[in-house]
């Protein structure tokens, strides 16, 4: 294995650290956002399930709420 790829004439530590920091930060933000989205969708469904039939019908008339219910059932 060519060590030059990693050492980059002594600049490797700075270059790899920069790319690694960027990658890890982006990964953290993605995973955190995904987790929050999943949790909110689940909570929304849970709260919708506690509604009476009449309230649930009212909810389904709201297009965005209906979309949330549909999109969660797809995943």
């Amino acid at each position: 294995m060519n060590f030059d790829i990693f050492s980059m004439n002594g600049y490797g530590i700075y270059v790899w650290s920069s790319f690694l920091f960027t990658f890890l930060t982006c990964l953290f933000l993605f995973l955190k956002t995904k987790k929050t989205l999943r949790k909110l969708e689940k909570d929304f469904i849970k709260e919708a399930q506690t509604l009476s039939d009449e309230q649930l019908e009212d909810l389904k008339k709201q297009k965005v709420a209906k979309e949330i219910l549909i999109s969660h059932s797809r995943t």
């Binding site: 490797g12 700075y14 920069s18 920091f21 993605f30 989205l37 909110l40 929304f44």
Partner: protein
């Protein structure tokens, strides 16, 4: 036209766009990384340290564009009171802050081998740090102020002040003597970056923009569901 402003249509569209972007973001970033780390040439002065540019510059640009967009949306919201606009700027702000932090950290990692210091209180670096503070204050202002009217006013004030800082960031390298170099990529003027370096830069910019779009769409869905949950309690 009305169809495009319909919240349920937008919500459905964010779902479709998310699936589309998620498919392409990883291959584009991987190609960009290969070009940035292995294919692109070294700089004749900076050597391999120049490769940091491929994450530093796109991050700084995304951070600046995000804040400019937030400011424009805040002004729009302040004047016309569009409900969905606040969802957009609330979704954009954490992304802008993240890329601002990446730009500062990678800039510092670039500064050490090229300038011999991790940090200097020069105009470009300091104004980027001030942008980070603007982002933090902006996020706190919409999270902590519960009154919508006051929240809009606070957000608009902060973002307008931040716009002044954006101009300072842009022209700081021309107005003051700074460690940071002047712009190498200019629209309508001569670009001093070699074509072989522009390819990975373009790829990384495109890849990180797509990543930012993925996060934005997920955040937009989060903000929409939060809003709907409040409505759920009123049923």
């Amino acid at each position: 036209m009305i169809k495009f402003l319909n919240p349920s249509y937008i919500f459905r569209l964010t779902g479709k766009l998310l699936n589309f972007l998620k498919t392409f973001v990883i291959p584009i970033v991987v190609i960009g990384l290969i070009f940035s780390l292995f294919v692109s040439p070294k700089d004749y002065i900076q050597g391999d340290a120049v490769r940091i540019m491929y994450v530093h510059v796109p991050s700084a640009w995304i951070s600046l564009i995000s804040f400019a967009t937030i400011s424009f949306l805040c002004i729009l919201n302040f004047i016309f009171k569009f409900k969905s606009v606040s969802l957009i700027y609330k979704s954009l702000a954490p992304i802008g802050l993240t890329f601002n932090i990446i730009a500062i950290v990678t800039g510092s990692l670039w500064g050490q081998p090229t300038w011999g210091t991790w940090w200097a209180w020069d105009a470009r670096l300091t104004s980027m740090l001030i942008l980070m503070l603007f982002y933090i204050i902006f996020i706190f202002s919409y999270k902590l102020i519960s009154n919508p009217e006051r929240s809009i006013k606070a957000c608009t004030s902060i973002s307008v002040l931040g716009l002044v800082n954006l101009a300072i960031i842009k022209y700081s390298v021309d107005w003051w003597p700074t460690l940071h170099q002047t712009s190498s990529i200019n629209v309508g003027k001569e670009t001093t970056v070699h074509f072989y370096m522009l390819i990975p830069l373009g790829l990384m910019l495109f890849g990180l923009f797509m990543y930012a779009a993925v996060i934005f769409l997920m955040k937009y869905r989060i903000e929409t569901i939060r809003l709907k949950r409040k409505g759920l309690k009123k049923l």
